[in-house]
Every structure is written in structure tokens, then in C-alpha cells.
Amino acid sequence: MGMAVGGGGGLNSEINVTPLIDVVLVLLIIFMVLVPLSQRGYDIEIPRETTEVVQPDPDHPPVILAINAEACPIETGLTSPGLPPGCRVFLNKDQVDVTQLSTKITEIFKNRKSADKILFLAAEEKLNYERIIRILDVAKKGDESLKVGIVSDERLARPAAAGI
């Protein structure tokens, strides 16, 4: 129809959406990149069995974190976050309260080279998996570069009974 409007500076009545698109596209890209990274977890070393005898280093003996039901009753699943009060675990022969675990771990591993920073986990099989992960989480707080290995022999979970 040609409703001729006088140009005169050309008043633009539309909203400028370009900055909005910029922001939204960047957000979209951020989310797309984050999706594959959303997995979290712990690495566990399970070294292959070798027949060669490894001489234990006298300065850096292996550290076994033993968790058993007598000292830490965590057979059932969780109802509340955190760990039950009075839960004690063993670091080699020493009984440690779970709240003290991370400081103890820091103490033991602070002078070790990263190759020696391995904590062996020996837990009783009847214990609840999530609670074990929680304890592992506490132990990891003591040393960021700590590696965790698993012990297949369940008897080591009870240091007193196993006589070590």
C-alpha cells in the first residue's frame, strides 16, 4: 500500500536482539560442553598380580585402611548424610576415629613421593557401599594426590583378628 512514512532519522521500533542471542548462544555452548564433564568419581588401582616378590620399602610401608563392622557399624544404608558417630577405622594397626582420618592421612603421606602415595582399602564385604565411599571421601580429603588400591583378602579388614 505504501504508507509512506517520512524517513527523518528512521526511528527503529524493534528491540535489538543481537546481544540476547550472543548471551544465549554462549550459555548453550557452555552447557553442551559441560554435559560430558558431569561425571564424578574416584579412581581405584587394581594392579595385576605379579609373581615377582616386591621388597617393601622400610621407610614407606604400605598403609592399609581397614574398615570392619565391629568398629564401624555401617551395614545398613544411609538415612542421614555423613557417617555414624563413633565410627572407627584402622590405619595399619592404629585405630582412628573417622573424624580424625583426614588429618592422620595428611600426616602419614606428607613426606612421601607421589608414587608411594597409595592407600590400600580393606573393607568387610557386608558393609554398605555408599558408606565406604564416604569414608574414602574423607581419606581423600587428607591428601589430594592419594591413590587408592583395593585389597581382595577380606581378613585384612579385621587387623586384630588377622593378627597383623
Binding site: 564424578r40 568419581g41 554398605n128 557401599y129 564416604r134 571421601d137 583395593i150
Partner: protein, 137 residues
């Protein structure tokens, strides 16, 4: 300056549909990201601040569900032998593949350990235990 417009031609692109599509995609990603989980549904154990693990192309997912069922990727394993042979097959294909285990929080440690030992038996040297970050309260 009197410009005579006859059905004035607009020279800029109409971006409104683009904005619509992009916004919808954005909302979908925002909603889907927190509840994204591969494989069978498993209630992951919660830890206070588990380290982030980048998902790799060569990653093999093992899941242990609440009823102690084993899964490799999405396939349910009906027996321990089947699980073992499937893992051996994967090991032959790629010896350096990363294994991640998603164990249900309600399981006992023994059930998850059994899966870990099987993985070790086949020859892999490292597994990752997948967890979830505890929501702050």
C-alpha cells in the same frame, strides 16, 4: 529528504525463529544436565566433593544395580561367565580402555568389590567408581 517507500524492503534477517530455537535448546540442556546418567538407572552413592572425571571415548561402563544385576554399557549380563567373557572381549579390543563402575548405593561393598576383582582378573589396572556430589544443605 522525502523517501517514497513502495512496500518497503527490509534488509535485516528475521532472527526471532532462531532465538526461539536456541532458547528451547538451552532450556532442554539446562534441565537434562543434572539428571543425565548413562546406562541402567542406579542410585549413585553421594560423596561430599568427589573429583570430576572427564568422560572418555574409550570408556567402558559397568553398572551394578540394586538387585545385584550386572550391566556392561547397557546390556544386562545374565551370568558371571557372560560378564567375564564380555570384559575379556573388551580388553582384547582396547587394553587401555577406562573402566568405570556405577554401583548402587544400597548394595554391600562386597558386590561392588566382586565386579572390581573381575575387572582386574581380565587385565585392566584401574577402575573409576562413579559417585554423585552431595547436594549442599
Amino acid at each position: 529528504m522525502q523517501s517514497v517507500k513502495v512496500e518497503s524492503v527490509r534488509s535485516d534477517i528475521n532472527v526471532t525463529p532462531l532465538v526461539d530455537v536456541v532458547l528451547v535448546l538451552l532450556i532442554i540442556f539446562m534441565v537434562v544436565t543434572p539428571m543425565l546418567q548413562k546406562g541402567p538407572p542406579v542410585m549413585l552413592p553421594k560423596a561430599s566433593d568427589p573429583p570430576k572425571k572427564a568422560e572418555e571415548k574409550s570408556q567402558i561402563l559397568i553398572a551394578v544395580s540394586k538387585d545385584k544385576g550386572l550391566y556392561v554399557e547397557k546390556d544386562p549380563m545374565t551370568s558371571d561367565d557372560m560378564f567375564g567373557s564380555r570384559l575379556a572381549e573388551e580388553y582384547q579390543r582396547n587394553k587401555n580402555a577406562t573402566i568405570v563402575i556405577k554401583g548402587d548405593a544400597r548394595l554391600t561393598y562386597g558386590e561392588v568389590k566382586k565386579a572390581m576383582l573381575k575387572v582386574k582378573e581380565v587385565g585392566f589396572e584401574q577402575v573409576g567408581l562413579i559417585t554423585q556430589k552431595q547436594d549442599s544443605q
